[in-house]
Amino acid sequence: MTASIPDRPRTLAEKLWDDHLVVKGENGEPDLIYIDLHLVHEVTSPQAFDGLRAEGRPVRRLDLTIATEDHNTPTLDIDKPIADLTSRTQIETLRRNAEEFGVRLHSLGDKEQGIVHVVGPQLGLTMPGITVVCGDSHTSTHGAFGSMAFGIGTSEVEHVLATQTLPLKPFKTMAITVEGELKPGVTAKDIILAIIAKIGANGGQGYVLEFRGSAIRSLSMEGRMTMCNMSIEAGARAGMVAPDETTFAYVKGRPHAPTGQDWDDAVAYWRTLPSDEGAVYDAEVFLDANELEPFVTWGTNPGQGVSLSDTVPDPASFADPNERAAAERALEYMDLAAGTPLKDVTVDAVFMGSCTNSRIEDLRAFASIIEGRRKAENVRVMVVPGSARVRLEAEAEGLDKVFTDFGAEWRFAGCSMCLGMNPDQLAPGERCASTSNRNFEGRQGKGGRTHLVSPLVAAATAVLGRLASPSDLPVTERVEA
């Protein structure tokens, strides 16, 4: 759409940037970038609406804005008033703001309610070639469609509400090429955990990551969303995958997907988006998919991960003094001794959910392992679908019965124990195998200890009561339900 497209091979990220450029910044000023889709939730928006009100500004594009309730919402008794007063106030504030300004809102109890990053793709609002922002760092999820999607702070939420643009400095680009074929039991979650362990929890800082290569091409949209979701855990602003037939097939027919001539125009444009032959990235990383195994974190940042068959590393093995000190602190917080096989670590809880892994495919994967089995006595298992629609879909397939027969709690949709803003929290000292995205100190509840894993590892762990992969499960253990 811009008048002057550079006459050189460009990356996917550069094409998206050029096509959303409203004003080119001069003399060190940032560029002004147009935002196609603004997702809103209750936690990072109240102060932004307040700002609009104080200045007498309207929401510029209500037709590019949509809100949902997710971070605070309870996952039980959703038909009753929210017990926590401050949570209730925040939800009620969003409802008042949405009504006053005219923003479309999907409230608790609505069939389109759910985690904002599950709702956007499910409605067909997320599509290739667009810019997406939300006051949430995991907005990077939407990059799986070949869009430019990133998290913003509350001042920027207000900025987008008022102007539908953001002043931004161009990001650097990093190509992450994953070639080969995954072994059975190895998933997108393991790839991204391995990448973060390789480049570090700050390795992507200042970059947009583009995931490419045969292993990425063969991933489903759900798998690509899992990978892009965790780009921020490497410190990157955004992650993306070039759109292809898998992407088009996923978008087509969804409630907000283009139709007729618009669809044809869109697909014609989307096909021009993949990075050009010879496009230059600021950095490149390679990973061999053939060698990957199920992955797990042992520490308190997402870069502190190893293969599940490994042992807890010795802090002394880190050359960098900052990394060594961080590892020492992490082992103390996690109550782990160096040299312990990860598979010997027992857990108190398994959390299956979050914007990283709560889509229908994730629930199916979890169910495929636990079906016909019983959970370990020592473990509490929570299954939280990403959206009300995912919950309905799972129930239509009978997955809810698989979960409850196993001994798991089948909950309503929301962010839940990923960050414990609602009552779903770990008690101090409790250890959890979690399909979520962050293992920071206290993330899932004060004093709680988090091991990030895939849905398959979470399922096997729930069966054995200790960190495990599906291949550790004896076939004979499966009983008739």
Partner: protein, 198 residues
Amino acid sequence: MDAFTTHTGIAAPLTRSAVDTDQIIPAVYLKRVTKTGFDDALFANWRQDPEFVLNQPAYAGASILVAGPDFGTGSSREHAVWALRDYGFRVVLSPKFADIFRGNAGKQGLVTGVVSESDIEALWAAIEADPGIEMTVDLTDRTVRVGDLSLTFDIDDYTRWRLLEGLDDIGLTLRNEEKIAQFEARREAWRPRTQPVR
């Protein structure tokens, strides 16, 4: 936003790397709907430890935080910046900041100065040799001074200019209202619409 030129105050050493936003302000404190009053939430879990740096009497009233690398990683919560500001911090110095945190800070008048790792260690040594010592951060010439030590810090030109002038981003953007409208007139029909609901 108030303009920032120079600030002198007590500097507190936070000798940790990768201080993430869940440590700066745990999620349970994000439920408030106001933009102020987050001072009690800052480092809420760590502050329960009497030995934590901000609990030491020498650092009472500290307004400059000198931290290890990768400060502010994790969530996009601007509440992390509000909590630092409400507690009284005007400046954070670190060898490296997480992108979203740094952006949020710049919009709230909190200066994020990038100082090399060896300089951060020199600053820690100077502070710990004389706990409660005052430090001066001058944005006009990008310098940090404490005792006999004088160092420079990095901050990008545009953020520095906005902080020095105390300018508001939305006001700056709306000067380009006409260009935004022209851009909107060119947008293709296939792009997503949230309303009307189909």
